[in-house]
């Protein structure tokens, strides 16, 4: 265990290139946590106390969430103080390294594909096997496109990803729905 004032390594570690966690990133996160904790505490305090049902004040529904909100504020204040002592507000404070351009691009593509599948394609009339096949084929095609283009195999890559997508869509539907009788979206 490391106590808050026995963590000098964090600043040094943060100075190494590419660190995702720095005192400044912790400081900003702590502010977010404090805001969250205060919101939870206020929401719990304002929650119905069910006095019309003769519920005593120590059994109201908002009791535990209120204390949880306070606990979040307490811990995040400690984190804020620690980050401040470690130089989060210093002029030469290290910024947390974000994703590289290539990583960010892949992340955004994957996130959009997954959200499109989960929110738009699933549960809105399209058979699950077809939605699944479209998602898997599209994801594989998009992610493997740079390598396939470099190898001059774009058409082959797309064809292969369609085959994999159809197999995945049918396979998952068959196993879950037909063998194990699980209802699919």
């Amino acid at each position: 265990m490391q106590s808050s004032n026995e963590n000098p390594g964090l600043n040094e570690a943060a100075r190494s290139a590419g660190s995702l966690i720095t005192p400044r990133s912790d400081f900003i996160a702590a502010l977010g946590w404090i805001a969250f904790g205060i919101t939870v505490a206020i929401g719990s305090w304002n929650m119905d106390r069910l006095e019309n049902q003769d519920v005593p004040p120590y059994a109201v529904p908002g009791l535990l969430p209120f204390f949880l909100g306070l606990a979040v504020v307490f811990f995040s204040t400690l984190m804020l103080a620690r980050a401040w002592r470690q130089g989060a507000l210093a002029k030469d404070a290290i910024q947390a390294a974000g994703m590289s351009m290539a990583e960010r691009k892949r992340f955004l593509i994957v996130l959009s594909l997954c959200l499109t599948f989960g929110i738009v394609l699933v549960g809105h009339g399209l058979p699950f096997w077809l939605a699944g096949a479209i998602f898997v084929s599209a994801t594989i095609s998009v992610l493997q496109y740079p390598q396939r283009r470099a190898a001059n195999q774009v058409v082959r890559g797309i064809a292969l990803s369609i085959v994999i997508g159809l197999c995945a869509g049918f396979g998952v539907t068959l196993v879950f729905q037909e063998f194990f009788l699980v209802r699919l979206p």
């Binding site: 946590w33 811990f75 892949r106 994957v110 929110i119 699933v122």
Partner: protein, 512 residues
Amino acid sequence: MLDGLVSLGHAYLALLLSPTSLVLGLAGALTGILVGCMPGLSATLCIALLTTLTVKLPANEAILILVCSYVGTLYGGSRSAILLNIPGTAANAASCADGHALALRGEAGRAIGIATSGAFCGTFFGVVCLAAFTPTLAKVALSFGAQEFFWLALFGVTLSGTLVGNDPLKGWLMGALGLFVAQIGEEGIYAYDRFTFGLPAFSGGIALIPALIGAFGFAEVLTRLADPVERKLLEMRDSIRPRFGEVARYWRTVLRSGAIGVLTGLMPGVGEDSGAWMSYAAAKATTKEPDLFGKGSIDGLMAAETGDMSSIPGHMIPMLALGVPGSAPSAVLMAAIIIHGIQPGPMLMVEHPHFAYDMVAMTTLATVCILIFGLYLVRPLLYVLRIKHSVLMPIIFLMSVVGSYATAWRLFDVYAMLAVGVGAFFLRRKGYQMAPFVLGLVLGNLLDKSLRRGLVLTDGSMVPFFTRPICIAFASVTIFTMLLYVPVFNRAVHRVADAVISPLKSLVARRG
């Protein structure tokens, strides 16, 4: 005692005389090993997906598959640790250093053989402890009241936040977040909707399985697919036969690591990786060859594998006896057991007196299964490691969507899984661990009900929460651990410790 042995005998006979059970056990273990082989796919995700797949099966058959897949996943995780230097599951991280070093020396087969024998011995040791301690602990837990359960839940979340990861403050924040998320929806005493913003979909709350699939499945899919680098697999040319000769040679390590694994397993929410790391550290501290650690030490690899596998039955002990899971995978296992109509906790031995022994028999079968697959299926299973992430992860996401939807048939669960996954992806990058969040999510209801019931029983008095014997122990450890992170308190504790220890040291030095 005699009743227990008879029940255990019945459980073993029922399992061994049922060909269906044997086939399902083997299938579960094989699925687990395949999932464990693939870096990033955790035991939690495997059990969560299999829970939805097996939801229509009879309770014992479904739970058998889940137990075998749990053991199989952690065992399978050593493959990628040894051959890719990427742990298949978090619990196999301690095996990376020595296992991969052996593989680099051309002894990958030997490393896998040692991992197999360590895993077999560790799980078997844990099974013996599971059979011996679960009924006893359940009897003790019968004396627990609301106050004890309140502290037990809080102690579990705090301990998990303290021990998992490098930053307890972040661990506790995640624990508090998990506890908060568990409060969303209709609460259990007055059926009042909390934090639902008037939306009916929120009334059912954030279900555990979709949340876990999001935290461990979707977040992993995003992490792996955002990274364009594919790791190179090392070749394996030597024999993969399990090395029981080396077990005999390192018997002290096996016994010590087995005991450490079970003990860490008993701690709520700590996870299998702690069992592995603590066993590894203990082996390093006691070995005659500490310089070899990290460079291909047999002792180190044996300790890590035995420690992580023996913690599996260790985690099942508090899960069954107290209803408090020891790790994220055991939390899902507990949820699955509840889905199948069996409530783990102090009343388990009263309501389902044979179930704990059934679990012992199931875990024994899982142990035998991993030995069989360790002997005969190592090389074919390694083809799984050659599948590209860009092919595997979209299929995993497809199953994650099905898994989230299938338990309650609500599209809201799919959206919850997506939201938790995106949140977990960013939080993990900033050093926040998911295990305390999971434990908070599991124990949130218990904490809420215990607090309010305890207060109602005492007419609003907090005194019994701090004066009942078991409460005193849990409360002091929990509060002291948290206060250690308050700088003023920490300095005061250090001053007191110095004031007590310095005179003792000088006294010892003078006598010496």
